[in-house]
Symmetry: C2
Subunit: 414 residues, 2 copies
Amino acid sequence: MSNAIYGRMRPFAHVITLDEARAIVANAARPITRVEPVTLLDAPGRVLAEEVHAAINVPAFDRAMMDGYAVRMADTKGASAAAPARLQLVDALFAGAAPERALAPGECVEIATGAPIPSGADAVVMVEETERHDQAVHIRTAARERQHIAPQGSDIHIGDLVLRAGEVLSAAKVGALAALGLARVPVYARPRVVIFSTGNEVVEPGQASTAASVYDVNRFTLTALVSAHGGHPQPRPPVSDDLDALGRAFDEACDADVLVCSGGSSVGERDLLLDVIRARGDVLFHGIAVKPGKPTAFARVGSTILFGMPGNPTSCLTNGYVLLVPLLRAMARLPPWMPATVRARLGTRVSSPPDRHQFYPVRVDGDVATPVFKGSGDITSLSQADGYFEIPAGSGSMEVGTEVVVRLFEVRGA
Amino acid sequence: MSNAIYGRMRPFAHVITLDEARAIVANAARPITRVEPVTLLDAPGRVLAEEVHAAINVPAFDRAMMDGYAVRMADTKGASAAAPARLQLVDALFAGAAPERALAPGECVEIATGAPIPSGADAVVMVEETERHDQAVHIRTAARERQHIAPQGSDIHIGDLVLRAGEVLSAAKVGALAALGLARVPVYARPRVVIFSTGNEVVEPGQASTAASVYDVNRFTLTALVSAHGGHPQPRPPVSDDLDALGRAFDEACDADVLVCSGGSSVGERDLLLDVIRARGDVLFHGIAVKPGKPTAFARVGSTILFGMPGNPTSCLTNGYVLLVPLLRAMARLPPWMPATVRARLGTRVSSPPDRHQFYPVRVDGDVATPVFKGSGDITSLSQADGYFEIPAGSGSMEVGTEVVVRLFEVRGA
């Protein structure tokens, strides 16, 4: 008969508050310094690693902004419908074609939007303000200087600082890079996040289960979260609950920026995890006064940040939202996550333990928030929730109808 | 000398309002019916195509929720610290191991969180409420029936409807699928969106430019937008501005759900685009009373929806946000986009044409919104903006200090 479980049981040494845990996590987050090139098609959402100065003018030439005629402004002075300026049509310029000759006094050139203005011309007259008679063009209004011309460099001037290091590349910012003719840009690497579940009972979805097994859930929920918040997830198969296997899994993850394992952090198993960590690095905290999610370990092993999440799916994912996401976004140099929020009224009474900060998952129907928490071990506590509200430690119970602010997991339909 | 530009010039036949354009786009959006399997790692953000009923119970067995001892409740009746129940320790059960024997009266089994409850046992006593003396275990409190046991099927019961068709797979919902042991699930295909820019002047970033060329911007901004809103972008190289090339590009895109081309829709070139469309399908509108973005065409060609966007980068991308995103999300069966908004005060006066609904890009610093619109052809009009506010047709000018609601392009830092 084994004596192993009992021998490993010890209470939590020191449970810290959520605010303390958040501060320790924030303090441990080192922004990634590795830089990699990406093509413009892969650039959206990435974080620019270097200043971009314009090496060219945009547009690169004086460019027609309207379809019409390029003219010499002086030639149209005093023109009116009654007394139009009469110019000789000498050429037609399409976009993409360079002008072959300069415009002489008395001449005009038919020009399409986007085409370069020929030298000598200093205005474009819209076709609507003209009349054509074979090779003569009648201009019915006097042109203003430079009208309907986008001057060379008017969008982006050569030498301009176009984007700063640290900017998140939105669609429009990627467009600015394209306008400069850049095919690829340097961005900060995304934090590499190795993810695995631990426990002899954990099997992979798709495999046969046994009378004592459960399917791996946390690998999938954490991978989804890491992808959505700027990380590069590296999900791995479940690791069995013994010192050698766990140590090997840690050592194989030593090039990761973050290692997130789940399971093995409850009273019975956690000493195994803590032993593996302590043999390699420092435990920064273990145990947070939150519900769900209390048995959470946070550590530094070499240059890798480690989260030991509870094995319970709802505890693990809640802590993912509350602690892992801020860490990842800080490392990835992304702005803090600002989930959409809605105000709603509690549909049923909820009670909260006095000594723990509680995250309470709810379904939102109209302006009613219905608690859906079943248990920390129940994935349906979150899969049927639209978001959660918080009950700080010491708040006690909340009655039906109390207004709560629900932070939404995902954007919902209007 | 060519006569081609002039010959193609005709004014817009009929400019419709933004609301009319939105209604026509909404009406044209057919939700995708194609279904494809994805692995759970690829499932986040996808839309489930079938109801998922549970084929197994979760947990699949009565499961210990605490580390401690599995007991027969009846054996602990009346137990107290002064008069503990004394039970004989007969086994140890780890998670993942199936019990080999039933519990007889007077016996207990050491049990770890996650392990199956042996038959005969009907409660778990936490280790903190026990004392061990070799093979004897003293239980200091009477157990309640089924305490610290997650009953078989208590999270998800066999036969339960776990997820509905049409649900967007959040991290937690993917977790529920994993808990059921599913390795892949059927999801709706993302709309295939072919994207290309037209115009002889357009060259690819990374290539040498000429004295009359501009770099392709719209392919990159549109690809970013399509990726972010549930589409599967298929960006293609620029297409030159002639009937054959454009017709060929259309025909090669005939398996796309959406075709978004840009350029070729201004007065000079649009008839070419419209000729290509009319030879193949129906123009649903051409010309919207918006600024920027007026010269926009919308059509149906076979089963493909077509957007002919203005070539000007800011016009094109603005219309992408305002019209393409709603179309895509409806086709992808995603809920409407709800961008974050902030209230801010105008830092400078803006004026708006009386007959057009205007989208005004702004930079937001604290509570001040500074207009950054330079011109429809300027990508920096958007790349330096955090978002935009709207000025409905007929509003005229807005003075410094006017409060505006800014819709943000991307989530910004707190």
